[in-house]
């Protein structure tokens, strides 16, 4: 298991290096002059040139690339071109905020959708199963920013049940923060409910039809025990894989929801960095999302190995 983990960590470092290189290449071909963008269209040419020299964007690409890689290892991403403040002071609070929102969304989504999946699987092809499947399909086919916009205008603006701006002020209690985050979290719940429900339903149906479930039932185990001890362990593996991939997405990809609720998460931070050609912030944020993706998939693999002895045995070889 330790060797397996080390192998995974080594591949993570290579992946991060590749990611950093790709991001660097992409931002290098983005059009526009950084100094001009930061100082505005009316700044003097000399000021623009001085600024570009100061931040190093007038250096040869290879030197800029080496700086980027050095930053990756020292975790010093320099200063934001846009705000002139430390990149770390921008991205880590954004990561923390995204984390809070993702956590709340998952705390609500996972139990509900797994329970709904099991419920539907056990009533396969019955009306209740159809309702769950259709609801899931409908909810996951609505883009999350549309759900967010509807929740915002109906619940936050009209009925004032939720907050319009999801950033909680400093010193807000945990309960208070829940009030700020619940609306954007619900938008995400609606988006992921169908997806996770479908996965868990399929897994459970597969398990229910398997030989080991039949054997367990014939041994005289109750339905609940068969489900808990045999089916769920196997059925949850693909669901966990799906969830782990979604974690990365939740951290960096829910730009629509963040925009609607004016939430300063990692997604909107990246969008803002792209808009303003804020390369240091963009690089750091993309790398951070990469780290989150890798950590969550690694965690999922470990969890699957723990749940499934066959995988566990393979990893120890």
């Amino acid at each position: 298991m330790v060797r397996y983990l080390l192998r995974r960590l080594a591949s993570a470092v290579v992946t991060l290096w590749l990611l950093a290189t790709i991001v660097f290449l992409i931002v290098s071909v983005l059009p526009g002059d950084v100094g001009r963008r930061v100082l505005g269209p009316f700044a003097l040419k000399e000021d623009v040139a001085r600024y570009n020299h100061q931040i190093g964007t007038d250096r040869p690409l290879i030197r800029q690339y080496l700086t980027t890689i050095r930053r990756l290892f020292t975790l010093d991403f320099g200063n934001s071109y846009q705000t002139a403040s430390s990149v770390n002071k921008i991205i880590f609070p954004a990561l923390f905020r995204s984390g809070k929102l993702a956590l709340l969304a998952f705390v609500i989504t996972i139990p509900i959708s797994i329970a709904a999946g099991i419920f539907a699987a056990r009533r396969q092809d019955k009306p209740s199963d159809r309702i769950v499947v259709t609801t899931g399909l409908a909810s996951s086919s609505i883009p999350e920013f549309v759900t967010a916009a509807v929740l915002l205008s109906v619940f936050s603006v009209h009925w004032r049940l939720g907050k319009v701006f999801a950033n909680p002020p400093d010193g807000t209690s945990v309960i208070g923060q829940f009030r700020y985050l619940i609306m954007p979290a619900l938008a995400m719940v609606v988006a992921y409910f169908g997806y996770i429900t479908r996965m868990s339903r399929a897994g459970v149906i597969h398990g229910l039809q398997s030989d080991y479930a039949r054997t367990a039932t014939m041994k005289g185990l109750s339905k609940g025990e068969v489900m808990r001890r045999h089916i769920l362990r196997n059925a949850l593996a693909p669901t966990i894989t799906v969830i782990s991939v979604q974690i990365g997405y939740l951290f960096g990809g829910i730009i629509g929801v963040e925009k609607v609720f004016n939430y300063a998460g990692l997604g909107s931070t990246m969008l803002n960095a792209v808009t303003h050609k804020d390369i240091p912030v963009l690089q750091a944020a993309v790398l951070l999302v990469g780290v989150v993706y890798m950590s969550s998939t690694l965690l999922a693999d470990v969890l699957i190995a723990f749940l499934n002895p066959r995988v566990r045995l393979e990893t120890t070889r």
Partner: protein
Amino acid sequence: MTDSIFDRLRRGASPVELELTEAFAQGRITRRAFVQRGSVIGLSVAFMGSVIAACGSDGKSKTATSSSSTLASTTAASTTAAGTAAAGAIKKGGTLRIAAQKPAGPLDPVAMADLGTYTPVVTAFEYLVDILGAEVKPMLAESWKPNADGSVWTFSLRKGVKWHDGTAFTAADVVATMDRLSASNLKAYIKAGSTKAIDDFTVEITLNNPDGQFPQQVGAYNPQSVITPKDYVLGTTLDKRMTGTGAFKMTKYDPAIGATFEANTDWWGGKPYLDKLEFLFSEDIATQIAGLQGGAADAIVQFSVLGGDALLSDSNMVVETIHGSAHRQIWMNTREGNYTDVKVRQAIALGIDRPALIDTVLKGKGDIGNDHPISPIYPFFDATLPQRKRDVEKAKQLLKDAGKEGLEATMYFPNLQEIPQLAQLVQSQLKDIGMKVTLQQEKNVDGDEWCKVYDSKVEPAGCDGGMDFGIVDYGPRGVPDVYLVKAYATGEWNSAHYISEPFRAAVKKYQSSLDLDGQKAAIKDIQKIANTDVPYAIPYFYNTLFAHTKKVTGIVATGLGHFYCGKAGFTA
């Protein structure tokens, strides 16, 4: 006015002051124009009051016509940053939550270039003069005076003002600020290194050229001219060195979320009613409007008609209108291509239905334009120039005379606020005069690059991207100098490549005039030449809007990111 009173008043007055006083006494200018102009050249309120009182007795001066047009908002409470608060009861205390544009750059007072950045910076810092209302009033300077030709200005500073860290504000701070500006933002105006501290509270600024309007450059319409402490150097940002002299002091800044300001109890304008200001940043107006309507904010710094319908029709909100000088120019290359013949340009100007544009694009929130950049808000605006009205037949005839019947054109426009909608309407209106206009949205490139694309061999090198027909935006200004110089008289932003010696001469005359009469005469020529030559068709001057809930009062805004809350508060 009796001679004895007049003699007494003019004793010690400079030639400029004397000329203005005489113009008013002889009834050549209105009382409003006298006060506006007098405030620019630094006449004290007491002096102007005496003159008005004296003139009133013989009834020579005309009474000013009332107008709702002002540069800044005229809320019920006040027209100045430190003005008198509304007569209605205002509660003490409370936090005003303001939805504001997210800053696009560092909070650098000199390098800042967007409204989002202006807002927090101008909340902390103040200017030498207050030009928020129709008159120029004291802010950090208590009085100011030009020399005989307007090339040297002396400012007497307010005593007892403290920076937010408790240190005293003195002439050294103003000298440092002006030195910094003379190398950047006010390079064209202030002679480098010329600013001198006469004593701790008197500063003398020497200009490159005489300028009778100089105080306008050190007020709100040049936001970069905020006075910063002497230890501020190029690149110092407000969030790194939180200070200022304003009614509120910055305590927290997060560019992604917002800024918090606490009341400055030592403010020279008196202790603010509010305890705290909280600016809540957002990239887009729709989110800010939702915030205001959903109770997350109490006010919004600025919004436009486009996308702002929800607020305009919300009976729970108070929408304030700021009449200003911001406008759109429909430019035509006067030097090469299809628009060199003035008849073609006049035809296009005649083909535009201005009232329809204002009603449709601005929902009525605009003042009609007459193809010159002088807004009706300026004291020297010449209302006698006939308003150009739509005349389709005449326009068709002009096109025919110019041999351009059925002219096909490509109109370039930026994707900014209402401009795409304006472009579509102009396209459809010009169809009536037989023109076939194709619309082309400009690529989003940076200022310099955009100008570099220019490919004309003909001087002056205007900033038009090599095209010959399009729309460009101009923001609000306290004086029209930027429009006159940059868009019309020089090549810098001269999209129309317009060269007119009579126009340049009139601009020069306007800029060197220290008296209102001279300015009025020059502006009359400027308006007429621009209206006849039509390098730019100017359909309207759009109003800037801001809004707040009904329980808020006393906010003073400019449309340039200023949101003064020194006398604002919640109604009791």
